[in-house]
Each structure stands twice: as C-alpha cells, then as structure tokens.
C-alpha cells in the first residue's frame, strides 16, 4: 500500500492504516484520521466537487494536527469578550465582524469550499475570502453562533484560521497598488485615444490634410496627453528629480527628459504650428513603463504581504490573574507593570518580569541561541518571548510592553537595518552612463545642425531623444526580476525586498546560524550505552516511561519510543530530570549530577557530546547521548556552495561545543561558538570590511540584528517573527535544498538581464546615428521602441518556464 497517496492531502498512505472515504463514487484512501474526518465533512456537506476543481493538495498534516481535542478546546478562549475587544468589530445591527487569516488556501477551489461551508453555518451573516491575501472577512450574529464555532467550522474542512489585525505596512501596500492601477488606467485610456488621433495625423502627412483639421487633432491630443503626462507620468518626473538631487543618474532621468522634451516641444509645435508632435509617443511611453513597473511592484508586494502576514498573525495572549487569582485572558500588549500572569507549561512568557510562584525552566533560545532550558526560581527575572518549559509559574510583570527586552531588540534591529550596505543595481549603473552619452550626443547633434540647418536643429535633437528613449533599457531589469521573483516563490522562496535578487548574485560568503538553521533544533537520541549486565532495549523503555511526562527538549528525544508499562509515581525535577518507581527501585534519569546515586562517580563513555544518565538508587544503569540533528540536506548544500567558490561560516550562540562538531562534520571554512547577537554582528561586519558580501541564514530572535546587518539575509521556515521581518527573503520549506536552485536561478536571471541590456543598447546604437542624421520619422521610432520593448519582455518571461 506504500505506493498509494492520500486522496485528500497527497502524503503517502502507510500500510498500518488506511482510512477510506467514499468520494465521487469511489473509496479513496486517506493517510490519517485527520484527513479522513476533513474529507468526510466535505462529502457530508455536499461539496465533493471540491476534489474535481482543486489544482493542488492542501499542505499535508495540518488537518490532523488541528483536530486534536486540545486544539479545539483552546479555541474556546476566543469567545472571551476581553480578548475579542482588540480584533472584533461590532456592527450597527448587533452583529460582529472579524478579519481572519486562513492558512492552507492553495487554489480557488479552497475559497469556494470555505465560503460555501461558512455560509451554510447558522448565524453567519456574511463571509468573503480574498484569495490573494488569504484574508476572510466574516460577520456573524452573536445570538446564534460564536467566534470559536466559526474557527472550528473552518478547521473541520481542513484549514486553520486566526484573528488578524492588518498592520500599517499593508495599508501602504494597498494604497500604492491602487495608485499604480489608477495611473495605468489613465495612461492606457489616454494612449488609446491619442493613438487614433496620431494615426489620422500620419495618414494626413502622407495623403494631405486640411490645416484646420490637423490643428484641431493636435489640440485634442494635447488635451488628452496633459493628464497622462502630469498625472500618470508623475512617478518618473519625481524619480528623476530625486535622483538629480542625489547626484546619481538613474533610469528615471532619461525617461523624464525624453518625456518632458517630447511633451513640451509638442505643445510648442501645436501652438506655433511646428512640423511634428509626439503626443502619441508620450502616452505610449508612459503606459508601457507603468505596466512594466506595476508587474514588478505586484510581484514584490505579494511576497511582502505574505511575510508581513506570517510575522503578525500570532496574537499573543496572557492569563492575567485578578485579585482572587482567577485567570483572565487579555492581549499581551495590554499588560502593565504590577500585573500578575499565570504561564502554563509550554506557553510563551508574555512580558519581562519576576517569578512570584513556582520553579521551572525557561527556554531562552530565542534570545541566546542556547537550546537547553535554564532553571528559574522564585524571584528570578524572566524575559518576554521566552518559553516556559515544564511547570506553571506566576510572573509579576515589571516593564511596559514598549520597553521590554523584545522591544529593545527590535530597536537594535532597526538600527542595523538603517546601516545596511547599499546594493547597486546593475541597470542603474549602465543607465547613468547611457544617459550621459545620450545627453552629450543630443547636445552635439543640436550644435551640428545649428550650424548647418538651424531651423531643423531642435526637431532633430528631439528625435534623437525619442528614438533612444530608454524604454527597452529600463524594462530590461524589472521584467527579468519580476519573472524571477514569481519563479522563486514557486520554488518556496519569498524575496521580500527589491534588492534581494541583485544582492544574492554578489555573495562571496554564506554564514549559517547553527541551531534551527543547520540543525532542526530538536534533540534526537543518538547513542545508548548500557552498563554491563543491562540490555539497551530495556533501558530505553524505562527511559521513555520516565521522560514521557516531561516537555523538556532533551526529554522529547525519547517521545515516540515504546514505554515500560510499570513505572509509577513519576515526578519532574525542573531542568534536572525525572524520577519514578519501578517495583522497589527508584529510577532517575537526567543530568549526571542529579541522577547519579550518592557516592558513585559518573564518567560519560565519551568526552564530547550531551550525555544523560539512567540510574536506580544503587548504581548507574546506562548512558544516553542526545544531539541536535543536522538537517538532512545541510551536507550537500555546503558542498555545493564551496564548489561554487563561496566560503561557508557557522555562528552559534550555543556553548556546548556542538557548533564546532557540526562545523567539522560539514567541513565549513570558519566557526564561532558561544557568540552573542552582538558578536555575530561584529563578525559579519569584519567580513564585510574585508570586502566580502555576506549571505546570512538564520531563524531566531537573536539572529534578527545579524540578518538585518548582512548584505542579504534569509530566514528559514519556522523562524521567529522578528527574524522574518529582518530578512530579505524567507525560505518556506523545511529543507535548505531550494537554496541551490535559488542561486542558480539568480545567475540565470542576470544572464537574461545582460541579454536584454545588450539588445537595448544595440537597438539604440543603430537607431541613434540614423536619428542624428535625420533619417527616422517619429512613427518609425515609436514602432522600433515598442518592438524592442516587447522583445525584452518576452525574453524575461523565459525565466518562468
């Protein structure tokens, strides 16, 4: 049965379980009870045709995880009015409205399924899902249904929904997008009109036209072109002004010069009855360029919004205790100093504070990179954003959310970002030389004709500027970058900054964070060493039985093995180990100093590695070695990178020596262990000072400033919010493998850009002398311009294959 895949999610169906559901008249295999339940729901609500229309399977494993009772239970807290305050709007008629971020939407069939399913629920007044943004606007009648019921209904068909508050950046993106569309609309409609008048004028030039008609057509063209030039063309004019003010010739400069000259000379020709008008060229030019830029903008916005949503989706809640110690759910950003909060095991501590009650261990890997939890007693300070691992604690909040360690880190991040080295854009460099050449040529041409035929001088200079209008040149880079961005997101990489792709091309050094980036960030059992007379399988069942009750990262290495059935009275010693009883024996597992019976010396079987002890009250029974496992593809990736001449470095905040081990295993060029975020940033700065261009891969909060300081940075899947915001790109898959393909695609993109630029320059080199000699009439130059632009766009689209 192993060759079968789940009809719902596409994962392989194992021989152990097959959970069939009859869909579209046939029994279909399912991989897990979760998929079975989702598929059955879909069939029961009469939407089997979802399976006919969908283009992609939903991402695997999510439905099963979401249907566990714990998850459904936790949803009930969403009905808490205090919590709802911050994201639920009350509508005038008494109904309520919320924006939900839905994960798992892959195609239009998902949207259809979800909308229909939600509309069939009692009490849902309205629901609209935007497929581009994966946001759903749902309004409901609080008398008939509740928010948790709605989220459960969504979970039942296999999607995950979270309350979502749009952030400011998104509003900006939306406004930019609309603004760009409006400009395109004006330019497009204007260009269509002006072209019809232009055709009449060209026909008139060949076959004769009454001066009154010609004059009228010119005036009308001028009227239509004016809003196109001043409204639709405004971004180019502003861009040119800005770049002149910065003393750097950008692509906007020749565009703006050509537009301005063409427009004003045409207006002058209309007033003074001159020989030529170029209104059609002005409109077409603005329209083509706007469309090119819009496509680029859209591709970039899409990646940006995805990353913004990824990083802002989680609403942090806290259990605030009132005077009678009753927990009350509140949003974490509403906490004030003096508030007491209860943090259960496995929950994130909502703010900086001091422990009032309970002893436990806290995983501070988000801050320090150290994967193992640190013991905390009553009175100890804890940091917001870190994870409480084992036992419930009560914390008294000591700082306002805006002044917490987390906010300080965010500020450090912003500073690093502001100091980020600027990446030069290839096209801009060529453009500034080209612009200079065109400007000088036009002046020369003008001077030449001034002496030979002064009455033609201005018009010929203008046709030089129009014919060399750098349309193809300015489209060459954006079109290729756009196509590449789209292709990259198919490959599981979101490029979130404009310069990401350009930056990736120049990379000389790749710096990896160890924990969570090169490794999975979870411990696995690597080795079992039984003492003489013991059997390793028995030891493992005993260890599993003990460790089962602990959520400590090391304990989790034992989860999933078969447990000994007779171990009783198990107790966790915070951050030390676990104790239990088997018949008359007292068993302990954990750190050597905790588990070893008094009077026995514990020597690990090997000096390096992370060893834990299993012992009874008399003697040591055996040793277990756990290690944080490398990602499966880290090896090949490092080899590939080194083969293509890039140096690899490993940085780690971990002090156990594991970083050095990993580094020597992978054969990287340099390694720094026990590094603070500041150390990491300094390390990267020193590389940059020696002329290196650094690509940084990281995941944790502690990596965020480093990610922001590197030339290009990539956050890996599952990275902390802050790391994702700081990075230039986000890897969406769990594997590092796409990185190879990404770097290859970047190379290919630049091949295409060079081809495009070469073609655009060639076209200009041929056209320019002819225009300077006065051979090219305006209609021919417009045609040449359009054809060369089209060629550039088609060439760029090859990247998407």
């Amino acid at each position: 049965m192993a060759d079968e895949s789940c009809f719902h999610c596409g994962l392989p169906v194992t021989s152990e379980g097959n959970y069939p559901v009859t869909i579209l008249g046939q029994a279909r295999p399912m991989c897990c009870p979760g998929c079975q339940s989702v598929a059955q729901t879909i069939v029961d609500i009469g939407m089997e045709s979802y399976y006919q229309h969908r283009q992609q399977c939903p991402p695997g494993s999510s439905p099963a995880a979401e249907l566990v009772p714990d998850f459904l239970e936790s949803l009930n807290s969403w009905d808490d009015p205090g919590l709802q305050e911050s994201f639920v709007h009350s509508l005038p008629q008494g109904s309520k409205e919320i924006t939900l971020l839905i994960s798992g939407i892959t195609c239009a069939a998902c949207v259809w399924l979800l909308e229909k399913h939600l509309r069939d629920q009692a009490g849902i007044a309205q629901c609209h899902i935007n497929m581009s943004s994966n946001l759903a606007l749902v309004s409901w009648d609080p008398e008939q249904t509740s928010l948790s019921t709605i989220i459960k209904a969504i979970a039942h068909v296999g999607y995950k929904a979270e309350p979502y508050t749009p952030v400011q950046q998104e509003a900006i993106i939306k406004r930019e997008n609309k603004q760009a569309l409006l400009r395109i609309g004006v330019a497009g409609l204007g260009a269509m009109q002006v072209m019809t008048y232009a055709v009449s004028l060209y026909m008139g030039a060949f076959e004769g036209i009454e001066p009154a008609h010609q004059q009228f057509l010119r005036w009308v063209s001028a009227l239509v072109t004016t809003p196109v030039f001043f409204y639709a063309g405004l971004p180019f004019l502003q861009g040119a002004l800005r770049s002149l003010r910065n003393r750097h010739l950008s692509m906007d400069v020749p565009v703006a010069i050509a537009l301005t000259f063409a427009y004003f000379s045409s207006v002058w020709a209309t007033i003074s009855n001159g020989p030529e008008v170029y209104f059609d060229s002005v409109c077409m030019f603005v329209f083509f360029l706007l469309v090119g830029r819009y496509l680029e903008l859209r591709a970039r916005h899409r990646s940006q919004s995805t990353s913004i949503r990824l990083s802002h989706s989680q609403l942090q809640t806290a259990r605030k205790l009132d005077h009678e110690d009753n927990p009350l759910l509140v949003p974490a950003d509403k906490l004030v100093p003096g508030d007491r909060v209860l943090v259960k095991a496995g929950e994130i501590i909502p703010g900086d504070g001091r422990i009032l009650q309970g002893t436990g261990s806290v995983n501070e890997s988000m801050l320090t990179g150290e994967q193992l939890p640190i013991s905390k007693q009553v009175g100890d300070l804890v940091t917001g954003g870190t994870l409480n691992v084992e036992q419930p604690i009560t914390v008294e909040i000591s700082t306002l959310p805006g002044e917490s360690t987390l906010s300080t880190l965010k500020r450090l991040l912003q500073r690093a970002e502001a100091e980020k080295p600027a990446t030069f854009v290839l096209a801009d460099r060529i453009a500034s030389k080209f612009v200079l050449a065109v400007l000088i040529t036009s002046i020369c041409v003008y001077t030449y004709w001034w002496f030979h035929a002064p009455e033609d001088a201005f018009w010929i200079m203008l046709s030089v500027l129009v014919v060399t209008c750098p349309c193809a040149l300015s489209l060459a880079t954006p079109t290729a970058i756009t196509a590449a961005t789209a292709r990259l997101s198919q490959m599981g990489f979101l490029a979130t900054r404009a310069h990401t792709i350009e930056g990736l091309r120049h990379i000389t050094d790749v710096v990896f964070d160890k924990t969570g980036t090169l490794t999975l960030g979870e411990f696995k059992l690597a080795e079992t060493v039984p003492m003489p007379g013991e059997h390793s399988d028995t030891l493992l069942t005993l260890a599993t039985a003990l460790e089962q009750i602990s959520e400590h990262p090391i304990a989790r290495a034992f989860h999933g093995f078969k447990a000994h059935p007779h171990v009783k009275d198990r107790q966790i010693a915070a951050n030390q180990g676990v104790e239990g009883r088997l018949a008359e024996r007292t068993l302990r597992i954990g750190k050597p100093e905790y588990a070893t019976p008094a009077g026995v010396t514990a020597t690990p079987p090997a000096p390096c590695g992370q060893w834990i002890v299993l012992a009874d009250q008399n003697r040591i029974l055996g040793w277990f070695r756990v290690e944080d496992q490398l990602r499966a593809d880290a090896d090949t990736l490092v080899q590939h990178l080194q083969a293509s001449g890039k140096r690899c470095h490993v940085l780690s905040g971990d002090s156990s020596g594991h970083a050095e081990e990993v580094a020597s295993h992978l054969g990287v060029d340099a390694v720094v262990g026990n590094a603070t975020p500041q150390d990491k940033l300094t390390y990267i700065r020193s590389l940059q000072d020696n002329g290196a261009k650094v690509l940084m891969l990281g995941d944790g909060l502690n990596d965020a400033p480093v990610l922001a300081g590197a030339d290009v940075s990539i956050a890996v899947a599952g990275a902390s919010d802050l790391a994702q915001v700081a990075a230039d790109g986000i890897l969406l898959s769990q594997s590092l493998q796409p990185l190879q393909g990404i770097l290859q695609l970047v190379e290919q993109t630049y091949r295409i850009i060079r081809q495009n630029l070469a073609w655009a320059l060639l076209y200009n080199l041929i056209a320019l002398p002819m225009a300077a000699a006065g051979f090219i009439p305006p209609w021919a130059s417009a045609l040449g311009m359009s054809a060369s632009s089209l060629l550039v766009v088609l060439n760029a689209l090859r990247l998407n294959r």
């Binding site: 509309r119 409609l189 009227l223």
Partner: protein, 63 residues
C-alpha cells in the same frame, strides 16, 4: 470631414466617463483579488441564493 469637430469632443466625454468608471472600480476594491475572479466561473452554485436582507454585502453579490 468637419463632423470630427463634433464627434471627437463627444468621444472625449465618453473618455472622461470611462476614466471615472475605472477610478470608481479601483477605489471600491474591485481589483483587489484578481486571482480568484478568474476562476470563479468554474464553480457551480447549487445552494439557493441568500435572501438580500439577511446577507447584506458591501463587496457586491458574491454568492
């Protein structure tokens, strides 16, 4: 051909109407979700349409 003195201004009026319509469409979010509208026609609607007053919709009829 003097008719163009009448026809072209008329066409310009239509142009203004078209631009105004486009502005209205963009501002009322009709271009927000281009991915979905492309495939919406593929899905049949077999549930009865909701009554107008029960499901007020500011995004236009989506059922």
């Amino acid at each position: 051909m003097d008719i163009i003195f009448l026809l072209i201004p008329l066409a310009l009026v239509l142009l203004v109407v078209a631009v105004a319509a486009f502005f209205w469409a963009v501002r009322s979010d009709q271009f927000d979700d281009l991915d979905r509208e492309a495939s919406r026609i593929l899905f049949e609607e077999d549930s009865p349409p909701p009554s107008a007053d029960a499901r007020p919709s500011k995004h236009g009829p989506k059922a």
